[in-house]
């Protein structure tokens, strides 16, 4: 191998380093230089200069610390260049340089730098959309265009959203810190909500035909794993367990045409045993924690489904009991709907129908297609075909996603077909 081979392997080494370490380097640089944009630019400068420097000097023993240190001085240089127009930047550059010279060893990443970054991106003072975009960009390292594509928004809209969020962080002075114990539960809720939203966006696309966007879900799971390492708490385990248990069914949940297959009709041999084992053990750990929260309980429910040998063998008593606990923690109409479905499985469709009609009467879920689809299904099982048809039609009016629409259309068609076996009645009507 000549010199070119050496350069090529260095380039590959740095590329791998970028993939594996750039988020950690960024998280530490934000703490050291106090600004996301400055930290990002300096980090890219540091990676670029690594390519040139390491070719001559060889890679350092601790590349990450080298990158942080180089990034820090790049930031100081860039502040100095800009300080010709702004005196306060000169002061800032002086201050950063003083700190950098005084505490060289500080370039070692602190254990909680990445946790700071997660909490910063998911600060509830930012809009939920901004939290999601910032988290994917800064914490996961996705490019703005990739995020825009995944969420079906215009690239410039998303870029604008990120710019605004960063401006708010700077102008309102949102601090770069891990919340105190006292603030933790509210702040952690926000982080978990963002991660679960990203996961679900990859699992149930909210519009269009792309039912599964594995990459987005994989990103959410990576984030969940990181969080459970940095902040090992019940609800963090609960969320990770829930995501893994959902993920275990990904291959079984749609057919070759991308059409939806319901849980009770899925080929369970396609479920990933490995993910189920990991998810179930996380769910157990989460449920054993003090006062388990909604993610832990949902993970426990998912684990009961995952462990059933067949749909018929599902332990609906346990599931219904978990839904009681969940409704207690999270009195939202969607939880009430799922609880009603679980009760229908345990106590019969008429019990579930009564509960769902109660929920629909309160009006909260009138515009939610799954509420009407669930109602339709119970009516169908009770032989109330006209009612079932009306509810499927209402669900179809509201559903947006291709596979879900096709599923509802199929169900509607089945209702029509099922009526054929009663020719006497049909004949009577026609005559």
């Amino acid at each position: 191998m000549g010199e070119d081979g050496g350069a090529e392997s260095l380039r590959l080494f740095i590329e791998r380093l970028y993939r594996e370490e750039s988020r950690r380097v960024l998280a530490t640089l934000i703490r050291l230089v106090g600004d996301i944009d400055l930290a990002e630019d300096s980090m890219h400068d540091a990676f670029a200069s690594a390519l040139a420097k390491w070719r001559l000097e060889g890679a350092p023993t601790n590349p990450r610390a080298w990158l942080v240190s180089a990034g820090r001085f790049k930031a100081i240089d860039s502040l100095r260049r800009r300080s010709r127009f702004n005196a306060s930047l000169r002061e800032l550059a002086d201050r950063l340089e003083g700190q950098a010279r005084a505490r060289q060893g500080e370039t070692e990443a602190l254990f909680d730098d990445r946790l700071r970054l997660i909490f910063l991106c998911c600060h509830p003072a930012l809009s939920l959309e901004a939290q999601v975009a910032l988290t994917l960009r800064e914490t996961c390292g996705l490019r703005t265009e990739e995020i825009a594509r995944a969420f079906l928004v215009d690239g410039s809209t998303l870029a604008q959203r990120i710019v605004r969020a960063k401006a708010k962080i700077r102008d309102a002075r949102i601090p770069y810190e891990v919340p105190t114990r006292r603030e933790m539960s509210g702040r952690l809720d926000a982080v978990l909500r963002v991660i679960y939203l990203v996961y679900n966006e990859g699992y149930f696309a909210s519009a269009g035909d792309a039912l599964s966007r594995e990459e987005l879900s994989a990103e959410a799971i990576r984030l969940g794993r990181l969080l459970s390492e940095l902040l090992p708490e019940g609800e963090v385990f609960g969320l990770l367990g829930l995501m893994l248990l959902n993920e275990s069914r990904r291959c079984a949940r749609s057919d070759a045409d991308g059409d939806l297959i319901l849980l009770d009709e899925q080929d369970r041999s396609l479920w990933s045993r490995e993910l189920i084992a990991e998810g179930s053990s996380l769910a157990k750990r989460a449920l054993a924690s003090q006062d388990p929260g909604p993610y832990s309980i949902q993970a426990a429910i998912a684990a009961v489904h995952a462990e059933a040998q067949s749909a018929a063998a599902t332990d609906w008593r346990r599931i219904a009991a978990y839904y009681d606990r969940l409704a207690d923690k999270d009195p939202s109409p969607v939880v009430a709907l799922n609880r009603a479905v679980a009760f229908a499985m345990r106590d019969g469709p008429s019990v579930g129908l009564e509960l769902i009609d109660g929920i629909l009467e309160r009006g909260d879920l009138e515009g939610y297609h799954l509420a009407h689809a669930a109602r339709a299904d119970l009516c169908r099982r009770l032989g109330m075909n006209a009612e079932a048809r009306r509810s499927y039609e209402r669900a179809l009016e509201l559903a947006q996603q291709g596979p879900e629409r096709r599923f509802l259309e199929r169900r509607l068609l089945d209702l029509t077909v099922e009526r054929h076996p009663a020719p006497a009645l049909k004949g009577l009507k026609e005559e």
Binding site: S88, A125, D171, A172, R173, I174, P175, E183
Partner: protein, 117 residues
């Protein structure tokens, strides 16, 4: 850094509140201001009279135009403000959340413009 806490409460809340409760809120608010003062955060605190006594003014083509009441027809009305010194937004939010008015209505926490800004 200086932050303004702008307190918004629906007029209805004050109207429907028994006299005794109103007195209690006033006393609690005074205690809140005093504790901000004691901890070195308070720069300015001011409660406002009801919107019944408010007048909105604009100058257009060098003419002063007056209208009765507040500028925006919203349910929640500005009923007081605080300017406080805080290390960062988290500290400011923590301080604002202790006001009794946060329970009755809402508080907008807005950073003040810096001298250089």
């Amino acid at each position: 850094m200086k932050y303004a806490f702008l307190f918004y409460v629906e007029d209805r809340v004050w109207e429907e509140m028994p006299k005794m409760d109103e007195e209690a809120i006033k006393a609690e608010s005074a205690g809140y201001d005093a504790s901000l003062m004691d901890e070195g955060h308070l720069i300015l605190a001011q409660a406002l009279q009801s919107i019944q006594s408010s007048t909105t003014l604009r100058v257009r083509s060098e003419k002063v135009l007056l209208t009765d009441g507040p500028f925006a027809e919203t349910k929640e009305q500005l009923c007081g403000f605080v300017v406080a010194e805080a290390r960062d937004l988290n500290e400011a939010l923590g301080l604002a959340s202790k006001s009794p008015l946060a329970r009755l209505g809402s508080v907008e926490v807005r950073p003040c413009m810096g001298m250089a800004g």
